[in-house]
Amino acid sequence: MAEKVKVLENCRVLDLSNELGFLCGKILGDLGADVIKIEKPGGDPSRNLGTYYKDRPDPERNLYWFSYNHNKRGITLDIETKSGADIFKQLVQTADIVIETFPPGFMEGLGLDYDTLSQINPGLIITSITPFGQTGPYKDYTGADLVLTAMSGFMSLVGDPDRPPVRVTLPQSYMWTGMHAATGTIMAYYHREITGEGQHVDVSAQASLLWACSIAPSFYDYNGEVPKRAGGFITGRSITGAKMRAVSPCKDGYVNYIIYGGPAGIRTNVRMTEWMDSKGMAPDHLKQKDWKKFNIAAVTQEEIDEIERSNDDFLLTTTKSEFFEKVLEKDMLGYPVATSEDTMKDEQLRSRDLWKTLAHEDLGEEIVYPSFFAKFSDIACNLWRRAPKIGEHNEEIYGELGYQVQDLLNMKRAKII
């Protein structure tokens, strides 16, 4: 088979982003783009998010940084100095895409806004990522994950009804924003490939996370209903307003088992009853049920509760892995509530060769990463290099621009790099 092609091989990306944009550059890097992460001298403050390798608080050992900055090279540059801004402009001449997450107007203040930079490089694409977008009454407002999750509406859908709404403990808003920024950026790049025209892409984190609300907005738009958090239950499946349990305790954790309709749901319900019966735990009301007539869109809470009471008693007697084996074997709907440990042991992900290692020579260790987000027949999507250390590629990249080792030393002394 012919070798797969790096489809973005000739695409250079200058990545000025903080955590809101990390994933954007990384995704472009997965497809082979030459992504250059630009940090302030001394390193990006985002190197202090989350946890560290062996819990040693060191910006060169930050696991959040490792997670979303591989497939990038790294340089340091203070674009807030005149000399730094000038060097940045030289880099822009060699680039196709700039990703930035500064407050609206900040780049303009440095003379590095879209209008100015597109005069230097007419085909340039600038992707600006902010909490609320480049314009509008909240454009200058700030927010980390909790605030973004709240403002997007997503949080109103998550949590126990008798407690305050909750976010996902592992912040999700940065991933949503980075992913959608990548979507917009690659669309703009495609447009440029066809027409030669560059442009400014304005990405809102709030709007990116809005899609995590899934179909909830249509409930309000159609019928004035406001979907709300329902704990471990799912809502909106029946016109009677019945809710269905999605998270059930089992012997060693939790499983996700939901009463569904449609062909797969009905098959699942029948086989669950058979499984329970094989252990002597299927009550008559389940065994005698005419599942073919079961209509999820019209089912009442009473009927659901009756089924779930029996199912839940049974699930308590199974383990996550017994449950998983059974649903796989019997083609039933349902999965264990996986922990990080379960994910890393998952047979399917392993057989798909998702995991590959990268050497972190300083740490004397190889670390496991996912090596693709999709499999392509012709283009390459891969794990190319680990996340850069602070200023790791200064010599290499500034060398390409024609700077000598002595220049770099001077720039370092002047705190530009």
Partner: protein, 405 residues
Amino acid sequence: MNQGIFKDLKIVEFAAIAAGPLIGKFCADHGATVVHVESYARPDGFRANYPPFKDNEPGYDRSGSFGICNNNKLDVTINLKAPGGIDLAKRLASWADVVTENFTPGTMAKLGLGYEDLKATKPDIIMLSTCNQGQDGPHARHPGFGSHLSSLCGFTSVTGYKDRDPVILYGPYVDHIGVGYGVVALVGALIHKHKTGAGQLIDLAQYECGVQFMMPALLDYTVNNRVMERDGNRHGYAAPHNVYPCAGEDSWCAISVFNDQQWERLCSTMEKPGLISDSRFKTILKRKQNEEELDVIVAEWSSEHPAEYLFKALQENGVMAGIVQGIDELFEDPQLVRRGIWAPVDHKVVGKHHAEGPPFAFSKTPFKIDKAFPCIGEDNERVFKEFLGMSDEEYQKMETDGTIG
């Protein structure tokens, strides 16, 4: 239609529910001609089985879940089980530049509509196959929905309070992650085709997309042997970091304080300057240590004010704060409104409602939403006669023998 980034792109979707159709929708919003294929025998599951329905009255052309995933598209009905069904589907696929599908892996090939089959008639076709687990591997053919997958990906185990069972994320959460990655993958293939003229096959597993959003927790496990657990709204090194009750029913304000400066600003907004140097809360370590006490103090203050007042007063003072917006409030949110996220559309059965626009705004090629979701089979005549050049007689015959239906 027919302007924007994808104005010359033709997509045929053998896809249903959320992930597949939304990939097409993002393209349709930017000018692609997208034909959604289903049949009366097998209508899109969102039309058939999922609320909301307009006025709570079920009906294929009354579905809000289908509506939000399918604006700007055309819809045809091909009965793949009818004698001429497969041939017609193939003919339509050959008209397209891109075919998307989210059947169980192997189904398209079994029907004679696999990548190799389509390539034989249309050598540069791009085919995007998306499903839960991927096209190969021991669990490939196992069925599942996004609401299950969010648990397998690990999101459920890290959501909720420590002293309660974990909670489930709303809807098919992982499907929507697959949508973002799916559009990236598709556009990557389009760039390749633009450069080389070659099409290709894309195998997009939503599970593998979802796992990307869990990476920091997975690294913490593989490197530090730590299994991440749910922890409410707590944050490792920020306090206060929670949602606080506001005046009114079930109304909440999110407040997060990461450093001493933000803490001082919060205290001054609360008009409690004495708290700044209060020994219980003076440093970030102290605030974390006495977080429950701190939450009570903030909640006492917040519950006297409406959420919107708190949000704006705190933001104007440089404190990160937000309203836990209800779904209804999103339609009034001035930022979302300004971005044109809620695009007005009119539908012959549902009437006036809104489609949802993309989260990115292009300066030169803005999205354009100008058509509500199609009724089932609404564009049969146009697509088969105009696009495929079918004669009146042929069309009539296929309608009569149930191929179109």
